[in-house]
């Protein structure tokens, strides 16, 4: 069959390959190249070596965004996964209305980041009005606002993955443990959690990479205000590119660093959590 299929390369692979080259391969290589140049459009690029990378640290914006993103990722990864796992435990006990609850908890995940941002501006500003301030008054309001928003959006998503994991734990294992006299706490710790380790890996990976790449929600909720203090990395790169003339090269250098950070974070996390997984 290989022979007869092989000559159909232009039909099967070429369309995807052309689009992939235009939308990814060329921009990626060009992006690395441009981070070592000064430019306003692609055609006037002038080689400047590492200058852009050094200029990143001229003002504190990038480091501030990095620190904000790291703190945000840490807090939201823990809270989202804990809540999602607890909800999944609740919804795998055969309670009445389980399907309805699952539908409701998952719903926010389908709403886009921009729309989510404006929904929460209304709610959070409404609450903060009691103290006569708005969400852009202090960076810590923006921080916790984003954490709440992210939790609302992703808990249902992660819950679905945890439910699938919990449901795949064989009943016979649980029954056997019960006969041996294990308490439900012990069953959770020694059977359920090790058995759903693959789901935990996936959810950690998904939440961390979602947290690091967050953009729309950030733009809609605070747009970095006050004075770029609540800008996360993706937003900081965007404002460097399109908000400051003459900083395009620095923006691209920031983007390369951002890419490296995202890659470094996602790879070992998957590898280390994989080791703890139960072989099945």
């Amino acid at each position: 069959m290989e022979k007869s299929l092989k000559k159909y390369f232009p039909v099967f692979v070429l369309p995807t390959l052309i689009a992939f080259t235009i939308a990814f391969i060329v921009p990626f290589i060009l992006g690395i190249f441009l981070s070592f140049t000064e430019f306003t459009t692609v055609t006037d690029a002038k080689w400047v070596g590492l200058k852009n990378y050094l200029r990143i640290f001229e003002d504190g914006d990038f480091l501030n965004a990095l620190w904000f993103t790291v703190r945000f990722a840490l807090v939201s990864v823990i809270s989202i996964n804990v809540f999602a796992f607890l909800l999944a435990l609740l919804l795998t006990r055969g309670l009445k209305g389980t399907n309805l609850f699952r539908t409701i908890f998952f719903m926010p995940n389908l709403i886009g980041g921009i729309v989510l941002g404006y929904i929460w501006i209304l709610i959070l500003n409404g609450l903060l009005a009691h103290w006569g301030v708005t969400i852009t008054y202090d960076p810590k309001y923006g921080f916790w606002g984003l954490v709440i928003l992210m939790n609302w959006q992703l808990i249902g998503y992660m819950m679905i993955i945890y439910i699938a994991g919990i449901q795949s734990v064989p009943d016979s294992l649980i029954e056997a443990a019960k006969i041996d006299g294990a308490t439900s706490g012990r069953i959770l710790r020694s059977i359920t959690i090790p058995m759903v380790m693959p789901s935990i890996t996936i959810c950690m990976f998904l939440t961390v990479s979602n947290a690091f790449k967050l953009f729309d929600q950030n733009l809609a909720l605070t747009a970095g205000a006050p004075s770029n203090k609540t800008a996360m990395m993706a937003l900081d790169i965007y404002t460097t590119f399109y908000g400051r003339v003459g900083w395009e090269g620095v923006g691209q250098a920031k983007a390369v660093l951002f890419f490296i950070i995202v890659a470094i974070i996602s790879l070992p996390q998957v590898l280390t959590t994989r080791n703890k997984e139960v072989e099945s």
């Binding site: 921009p27 009005a129 953009f215």
Partner: protein, 280 residues
């Protein structure tokens, strides 16, 4: 893990807990709906009060919002771009995935790893260069953007199809080749129908992403063609002053189609997300 709770009172407590949580999850959307019928001056001051004779504004916000951002036009662009891109992605990446899984050449292997690699690259890395490349090739219009989405979405989609194709028995394909089918016919009538479950998953994941995507269409075609997220962000205006009335009404109109779509194919969406996460 259907442990089943013995005591009835615990069951009632847990169901109540779930109901309260469900209410908390729905609450933000409910508040937005409520405020979309209030006069715009009442929204920022008292977002949590119910409708009354003073603050009720009927459909005034809807009328002004639809006019301000050209909602129906935006809806049309969003729909066109989403449907077009999802169709292109499903058709072309499934073909590519089948080809590179079945043909074992070095080139196909490299291509596979390039697709996997593209999955960990954040959009900001190629944001500027992709926009410039697309401009140069005159892809900055509602048809060209479909090619860009095909290229940028190719990584995840091809990867997911590849994982599934490996589990499809090769004998069936060989039989159809022996019966005299060309590779295209084999794919069309034998392989593609077997891919149906993963086709639904890939279609839903991409539809969710593209429908809600803000930055890519904004940079590429945003000045001439506004999709729904772009139109909503546009409402914010240059100076950060938001017409809250129109905003609330447009948020409702933006959420409404998503909820209708969700309630219609809820089963597929939830399953698709679970499968997609496990594979990706």
């Amino acid at each position: 893990m259907e442990t089943g709770i013995q005591s009835k009172s615990l069951r009632i407590i847990l169901t109540t807990l779930c109901s309260i949580l469900a209410l908390i999850f729905v609450y933000p959307v409910f508040i937005v709906l409520l405020n979309s019928f209030k006069g715009k001056l009442y929204i920022s001051d008292q977002p949590f009060t119910l409708l009354n004779a003073d603050n009720f504004a009927g459909f005034e916000n809807y009328i002004s919002g639809i006019e301000k951002i050209g909602f129906f036009k935006a809806f049309g662009f969003s729909l066109w771009i989403t449907v077009g891109s999802v169709l292109a992605i499903v058709i072309f990446t499934s073909m590519t995935a089948w080809y590179i899984t079945r043909i074992k050449t070095k080139f196909c292997q490299i291509l596979y790893y390039l697709f996997v690699f593209s999955m960990i690259v954040p959009f900001q890395m190629v944001m500027f260069t992709m926009t410039k490349t697309a401009n140069m090739l005159h892809l900055d219009n509602p048809i060209g953007i479909i090619i860009i989405y095909l290229g940028f979405g190719a990584g995840l989609s091809t990867f997911m199809f590849c994982g599934f194709v490996k589990s499809v028995p090769i004998d069936v394909e060989e039989a159809s080749v022996i019966d005299g089918c060309t590779a295209i016919q084999t794919f069309r009538y034998t392989v593609f129908p077997m891919l149906k479950p993963i086709v639904i998953t890939v279609a839903i994941l991409n539809a969710m992403w593209i429908w809600n995507d803000y930055l890519l269409p904004y940079l590429l075609i945003g000045t001439d063609y506004k999709t729904i997220p772009i139109a909503i962000q546009y409402l914010k205006g240059g100076y950060g002053s938001i017409d809250m009335g129109a905003m609330m009404a447009m948020l409702v109109l933006a959420i409404l189609p998503i909820i209708i779509f969700y309630l219609c194919c809820q089963k597929h969406i939830i399953k698709g997300v679970a499968v997609g996460a496990v594979k990706g």
